[in-house]
Amino acid sequence: MRNILSLKFCLAVASTFIVPTGLLAQDQAAPAAKPASHMESHVGNLTGNSDVGRQLYFRYCWGCHGPHGDGNGENAPYLNIQPRNFVAAVFKCRSTPTGTLPTDEDLYNSLKRGFNFTYMPSWIALTAQERANLVAFIKTFSPRWVAEKSGTPIPVPAEPKLTVESIKHGGELFQKLECWKCHGQEGRGDGPSASTLTDSNDQPIRPYNFTYDNRSKCGKTNQDLYKIFMTGLDGTPMPSFADVVKPEDAWDLVHYLRTLQYNNPSPELTLWEGTPEGKAVVAAKRVKETATGSGFKP
């Protein structure tokens, strides 16, 4: 007993001398905020409970996101888009402005949808209540959920009528805002800066290739596309354009981006292909043959 006590004492004394080396002199005085041990989430009329979510987390999530929620799970070293670090609480898919916490609903939707082109699957197999519980639990990892409130979702005005003019204007914006610097002139994710991009953990990251699919990481609807560039994907090179793009212009850009997804039918693509100009552009982009030259016809 005495041995254990003295060991405890030694540890306590030692711990007072251990200063985290990563922190600089002026940061040490700041009292460390602590995350909450219990959290709730509110999604629609569901209320999530973190105590129940904990059990689900340690069954389904911790293999990648880790026991401490820092994204350092057992599987993490083998994943080339690293699992989210819930301690940093920086999230890509939000309806809230850049730099703010997402809403519970944003996290819930991410869980339900999964992340296309990553190792995060869709958790559609869980019940809605279970997903809400998990959202509550992941909020217990970061003190940010105690110190801050979720951001206010950005206003998304009703989508205006789709016209050829709006597609053309969107194309001009794509040039003017220099989206092509990363996403490439044809939206293939091969712009001049594409190969140099890294996320906030200094890991290489690819810009979205519009021609590959019509499902982006944060959803497949036009509203989702609108939110992606108006809120930015925090933690990645994708910035927010909310301060520089007017809502009506933003919808024009959405319409144009859809025409880049020329392998996926959409009202925007149909309208664009109906014009002589659009038809020529899309036809020139479409892959008619495979790289080996064997005849592949869409």
Partner: protein
């Protein structure tokens, strides 16, 4: 225990400073000195801006990286010298700190300002930039700023050294130094600094460099005296 000491220190100084500042002459002690390096710093590589012609044409010879800027007489530039302990937190001044993007570089390379002070970010280039500071304690945001758009106004509410980058132009790299009090300076060529208006008391003076790290020294000021403190950083050859 450590926490208590940190809290008590500023409170005592606060009491002292309110007396000192009440009079017509707010002068106090000064800590001044020089920041130098020893050894051979790495040779900075020239920046290839060929992918951004609008910026490349602004230079006759390619600019070099600024992660270590050695000045004359072994002086070290872009070092933030500040009072890390002993001085009370000050209210933010009403003037804004301005961070300019010009020629696809950040001017200044290291911008020091206070907690809750307005930070204005200006784009003077003919190309779009995105401003992506990477804080650990503050909120992380990332905003696009095409040419001709108004300045971005932001604030930070926690003291921290924050690296800043532009993802579009990978060579663009700068730093924000968010300070708790008004006693700080960033060294230029010559490496000199001077922290003035310090009421009598015991201070910890720290010097921070983005590549060479952090150093601290204890200084006690009594009356209106000027104390000299010098910092020497070990240069890394890589």
């Amino acid at each position: 225990m450590q926490w208590k000491r940190v809290v008590l220190g500023p409170t005592l100084v606060l009491a002292a400073s309110s007396v000192a500042f009440a009079g017509p002459n707010p002068a106090g002690g000064t800590i001044s000195g020089k920041v130098t390096y020893e050894g051979t710093p790495a040779k900075m590589k020239p920046i290839d801006m060929s992918k951004e012609p609008s910026c490349a044409k602004m230079y006759t010879t390619p600019p070099v990286a600024e992660t270590v800027v050695a000045g004359s007489g072994n002086s070290l530039e872009d070092v933030v010298v500040y009072i890390s302990a002993g001085a009370p937190d000050d209210a933010a001044p009403s003037t804004a700190a301005v961070f300019t993007q010009k020629g696809c570089r950040y001017i200044p390379h290291v911008l020091a300002f206070q907690v809750n002070q307005e930070l204005k970010i200006v784009n003077e280039d003919q190309t779009s930039h995105n401003i992506h500071p990477l804080p650990k304690l503050n909120r992380e945001w990332n905003k696009s700023q095409p040419p001709g758009t108004p300045a971005i106004s932001e604030k930070y509410d926690k003291a921290e050294f924050i690296p800043v980058k532009c993802n579009v132009h990978p060579w663009m790299h700068g730093n924000f130094a968010v300070m708790k009090n008004s006693h700080y300076g960033v060294t230029a060529d010559g490496g000199a600094f001077s922290l003035a208006n310090l009421p009598p008391g015991k201070y910890t003076v720290s010097a921070w460099h983005e590549s060479y790290g952090d150093q601290s020294q204890e200084v006690t000021i009594s009356g209106n005296e000027t104390k000299t403190v010098n910092f020497v950083f070990k240069a890394k050859p890589y």
